[in-house]
Amino acid sequence: MKKKNFNIIISGIGGQGLITITKILAKAALIDGFDVKTSELHGLSQRGGSVETAIRFGSKVDSPLIRQGGADLIISLELQEALRACYYASKDSKTMFLINDFVKSIPGTKKPDKSQVLKQLKGFSNKIALVPATNICKKELNKEVLAGIYLISLAVLKGLIPLKAFSVLKAAKKIVPDKYLELNLQTFQLAQSYTLSI
């Protein structure tokens, strides 16, 4: 692992379970022996508006926030929110985008054009993967909210996050309430069979 800290932004919409997946990754980082910090917001910000969390891990982490243009990985649970997260993306940092191919329309605005969004993202990063996580979770597990778990599983399994898959599973077992654990583990399994193209 390089000396520099690893910086992840997770963006999405209130209610998509960002805080749980942030907690899982933080715990996994601790299990893997890293220093780690996360930053999240509660209250008004969780009411269906745009939300983002930050996770940083490495040998020593100071700031809980990631600086502008400083993300290594951006996991976006919604297409338009990936654009908002461009604040943290840059070619200098070789930011990787892992994006849920899912649009939650904003009332009073027109549906975004996917190719247009991708074109705009390319100004900030050359590494973009679009994954239909919501569709897969809906189809296979009948639960859209698992999309976040699916994406972090995929990110860890495909080496986009330098954490051990085993540690992420171990962390999930401690954080996810018992009654949902089985579904979360199934989601992890499901992510194993996905072929990621960037």
Binding site: E40, L41, G43, R47
Partner: protein
């Protein structure tokens, strides 16, 4: 058992700043905890609510922050170790009691946790900076920067409180309260001993002329505590002076951004990190700035430390260049890049990354704003659409703090004014007295108990006729569904309609907003009344 309780001595676990405060209180042997919810302080109460019974601690959600502080003080006067938690606005409500409480001092140790919210991430109404209370109330204030410090400073807060017999404040900001990071645990202590209130009016009765003596005693205590602050490892200088004679003074989360900025810019200079905001280690600061040519003060919001540094530099280093708000914003929170850019200017260098051109590029993106919204099946949708349909054109909608303030956003846009808890009916009364316009004031159920009742009484005793709609969703929803007197976790509830009727309001109706016809009928009827009328729109929040 939850990790926060079961975690063993020496173990390292990840805790939110707020939960580290909880653990710090547990390790100090806290016995009595009271709070009123408010983001970003809510998790302190939420966690105690879950664990108090198991931990053998008394916990309550009080009716409002003033009552929470008074309850905590009563317990402390009886000898108990006490924690009271609230957000910044809560301290305003509690301040009428806080100020004399600092005069009298306490018996059992008392820590008051207050969380500020720079950038108003989870706050309406104002970007309040609690640091102002240092001079207003002469209360000691400690400012942690991460979760480990949240725990350590809480414990130190209890120790200082014990030694000086006054309450000690821990001031967090959002990025500390909701920052999760590893914390090394120590042993949880169970306090023993029976509580007893021993009469001592000399201490507990703040009457003149004694009250002026008390003020002097408090000021002396603060000066005594300053000696501890001068020597405390909480106020620490890291790094040594170099030929450029530059240095930084900072505290709280800003310190973490400073560390990040120094690394990013590959700079080295001494950093004075303050853990005490009040009392400041004045001599130590003077010693630090005496040898400097330039100092950069990195702090969020108003320039308190900057002004203090200016004052302290006068006699010992009048030529000192003091930088701070000339390169950092007064409004909004700090971000690492702001501190990197400020420090680069200060040190006459350039960041490797071009923040300006990156920002320009980012601002060119076409991104639609996504407003916060009511949950898709929230009963408030029905309330707002029905009211909007029936209210005559020009009706003024009085708003307030809670999920119902989301009515301000599209598609409703039904919020003609919005201030603090309890104010919607208070202002409605004034408008009704001044004009003949129609006013409908919305009040949440938790807000009604918190501060709405005196406003309602005022419309009755001073005779005005707004329509007040109490949004009874059976919970304190916005802050995370905490119970309140009208919907307690256990025991008998206090019925809002009983209170309203007992006050003499004639037109009161409790309606399930799903019964649209009845709701419509009542709104129409009540809007014609020549005295105050109240609709209690009752349907539970979908999250409980």
């Amino acid at each position: 058992m939850e990790e926060i309780l079961s975690g063993k001595t020496g173990e390292k676990i990840i805790l939110l700043g707020n939960n580290a405060i909880v653990r710090g209180a547990l390790e100090s042997g806290v016995q009595f905890v009271s709070t009123y919810p408010g983001t970003p302080a809510s998790e302190v109460g939420n966690t105690f609510f879950r664990i108090a019974e198991e931990a053998g601690i008394y916990f309550e959600y009080s009716t409002n922050e003033k009552v929470a502080l008074e309850a905590g003080a009563g317990a402390s006067f009886s000898g108990l170790k006490t924690l009271v938690a609230m957000k910044n606005f809560g301290l305003n409500v509690a301040s009428d009691f806080l100020i004399p409480l600092c005069y009298s001092g306490i018996k059992g140790e008392m820590v008051i946790l207050v969380a500020d919210d720079p950038n108003c991430w989870s706050s309406a109404q104002s970007e309040e900076n609690t640091r102002g209370f240092a001079n207003l109330a002469h209360i000691p204030i400690l400012e942690p920067s991460d979760s480990q410090e949240c725990k350590d400073f809480t414990k130190l807060g209890f120790e200082l409180s014990k030694k000086f017999k006054i309450p000690v404040m821990i001031r967090e900001t959002t990025r500390v309260a909701l920052q999760a990071s590893p914390v090394r645990l120590a042993r949880i202590v169970k306090a023993k001993g029976k509580a007893k209130f021993i009469k001592d009016p000399h201490q507990f009765s703040t009457m003149p002329p004694r009250v002026l003596e008390m003020k002097n005693e408090l000021l002396e205590k603060i000066e005594e505590m300053r000696k501890i602050s001068e020597k405390s490892p909480l106020n620490q200088i890291k790094g040594r002076l170099r030929s450029e004679k530059m240095g930084i003074i900072t505290s709280g989360v800003s310190y973490l951004y400073v560390k990040e900025a120094l690394k990013e810019l590959n700079l080295k200079m001494p950093v004075f990190k303050l853990g005490f905001f009040n009392p400041l280690p004045e001599k130590k600061i003077q010693k630090f700035i005496k040898k400097l040519k330039k100092v950069l003060i990195v702090e969020e919001l108003e320039p308190y430390l900057e002004k203090e540094t200016e004052r302290l530099s006068k006699n010992i280093n009048p030529k000192l260049q003091i930088w701070g708000k000339n390169v950092l914003p007064v409004t909004g929170e700090l971000k690492p890049e702001y501190v990197i850019s400020a420090l680069a200017k200060f040190a006459n260098t350039k960041p490797k990354f071009n923040f300006k051109s990156h920002l320009r590029k980012f601002k060119k993106l076409e991104i639609e704003k996504r407003f916060p919204q009511l949950c898709s099946n929230c009963p408030y949708w029905l309330i707002f659409s029905t009211v909007k349909k029936l209210a005559p054109k020009g009706t003024i909608f009085g708003g307030e703090i809670g999920c119902y303030m989301l009515a301000a956003y599209p598609p409703h846009k039904m919020q003609d004014y919005l201030f603090c808890m309890g104010s919607s009916a208070g202002i409605a009364h004034g408008i009704k007295k001044a004009t003949n316009q129609k006013v409908i004031a919305f009040v949440g159920d938790s807000s009604f108990f918190h501060a709405g009742i005196p406003a309602l009484i005022n419309t009755i005793s001073n005779k005005s006729d707004p329509l007040i709609i109490i949004m009874d969703n059976r919970t304190t929803a916005m802050t995370g569904q905490q119970p309140h007197p009208g919907a307690p976790a256990k025991g008998e509830e206090i019925k809002i309609e009983d209170i309203v009727r007992a006050l003499g309001v004639k037109y009161v109706k409790t309606i399930d907003p799903i019964n649209v016809k009845e709701f419509e009928q009542t709104i129409k009827e009540f809007l014609e009344k020549k005295e105050v009328s109240v609709i209690i729109a009752r349907r539970a929040c979908i999250r409980i």
